[in-house]
Amino acid sequence: MNTPNTPPDARAAGTGAPAGVAPGTGDSAASIHDIGYRNYTGRRLGGGYILRSLLVQTLRGVYGLGRSAKSKVLPMCLFAVMVLPAAIVVAVTVVTEASDLPLSQSEYVLTMQPVIGIFLAAAAPQAISLDLRHRTTPLYFSRPLERSEYVTAKYGALAAALFVFTAVPAVVLYAGALLAKLDFADQTGNFALGLVMCALFSVLHAGIAAAIAAHTPRRGFGVAGVIVAFTVPYFLVSALQGIAWDQDALGVTGWIGLASPGSLMDGIQATFLGGGSTFPGGRTPPLGEGAVYLLLTAALIAGSYFLLLRRYRKAGL
């Protein structure tokens, strides 16, 4: 995929000119003196290679791998907090010999939203704002790396990190369900839906967090912004849905749910992924409302990607 600019032997074999003279200029007076330095003759790796490296590097950085021991504490602790309840759920299922998991994979993700929010609030500014703070972005863009490739790498790494964060407990739940000898077909179906939910959740939340983190070089602001963006609308939606429920205006709760990323995911998993919603009264949005939920999610994902692209348009930053 990355073809080398010049095959290693082409120069020497072609003209017989000494190494160091640019090909095509011949041996005219305009030559650079060859003072004996070796040229780089290896493969030239382009933007795609940088993208992959940046993605892997960011993904590792989010979990503190390759960073100081202190940076590993928070992500690893949060990861443990995320997985432990899944193990407990499995243990309870096995001990009580229940016929089904007390909560499905997609419901589990929604239940653990506060933990995910903290993880993302710690991860996104670390992965994105610090490049702005330490002025490393111009260094990245001085390489053969396109703006869209940088954005894709950072966004992708964040989404992948979040997917790992949410999918591992889903795997634990699935493995536990199989060990408890629950119905195989049932559980595999739930697991697949759960993974779809994790992927959708990760891409949406990573996009919003990345867009916020890219707009401030200050880590503290980034953290605060991400947490506020996820929690304040969620509490607002919960409070308003509670009021609507008190007023017997159940139809409105679905539309109110559009106003926060958390309730957006809740509605989608209730409508399409076969989970129970946590909306008041356990109401599942009907198919029409569900389609609006999906559309809004897609719009938010695309919107945050374009916001990121626009943010990096100026090279100086």
């Binding site: 503290g220 953290v223 947490i227 929690t231 304040v232 509490f235 607002l236 409070a239 009021i243 007023q247």
Partner: protein, 241 residues
Amino acid sequence: MFDPTVARLTYRGLLGRRRVFLLSGLPLLLLVIAALVRATVGADDAVTANLLTGFGVATMVPLIGVIAGTGAIAPEIEDGSVLYLLAKPLKRPTIIVSKLIVAIGVSVVFTAVPMLLAGFVLNGNSGQLAVAFAVASALASVAYSALFLLLGTVTRHAVVIGLVYALIWEALVGSVVPGARVLSVQQWGLSLAERIAADGTGVSSSVGPVAGVVLLVVVTVLGGWFAGRKLRTLSPQAGEA
């Protein structure tokens, strides 16, 4: 114990540039929601109490507390400019008290006033709800300011820890787990709201008003005192590694 210059600098740091938007965003949101709910639902005591508790006392007040409390000192410690302040011939407790008073002032103004307004918008202060919630949020703001100011002197991750505390402990655990409620600033503030509000309006707290006020005072004084102690031995560190 109060230095006007430190207070002025803190005040300008708090309300300067983007922070003022952050600070006024939530109260504005509360007022907009209040107006919307009043327009669609009409005046209703239960709805008022529900909204002012769920969004106001549980979400807005702790968040403003975090922004004002940590914002009063944490940025200076982070960028190292606190050294210039500490080098002045001022006692450390004086610096803390001045900053604390400003943080309390700012957070009370940005919480109690919008709560009072929202209460009037929602049901015209029927059942004394608007006054009750304004008092509750003012009291809670005082304690939050001291608590988060202390946090700002203790750790460089004050904003994160403060937000986690404010949103996870106060909003989720404090509203769900019964035992944890006794240890939540929100409930201490609400204890007075329960006293002021008329019966049957749905305002409830898990601690008595006397205990609530005593706990609030204890937390505020202890927080301020300990922050002063902490500032004495502060060793400025380099930025994020």
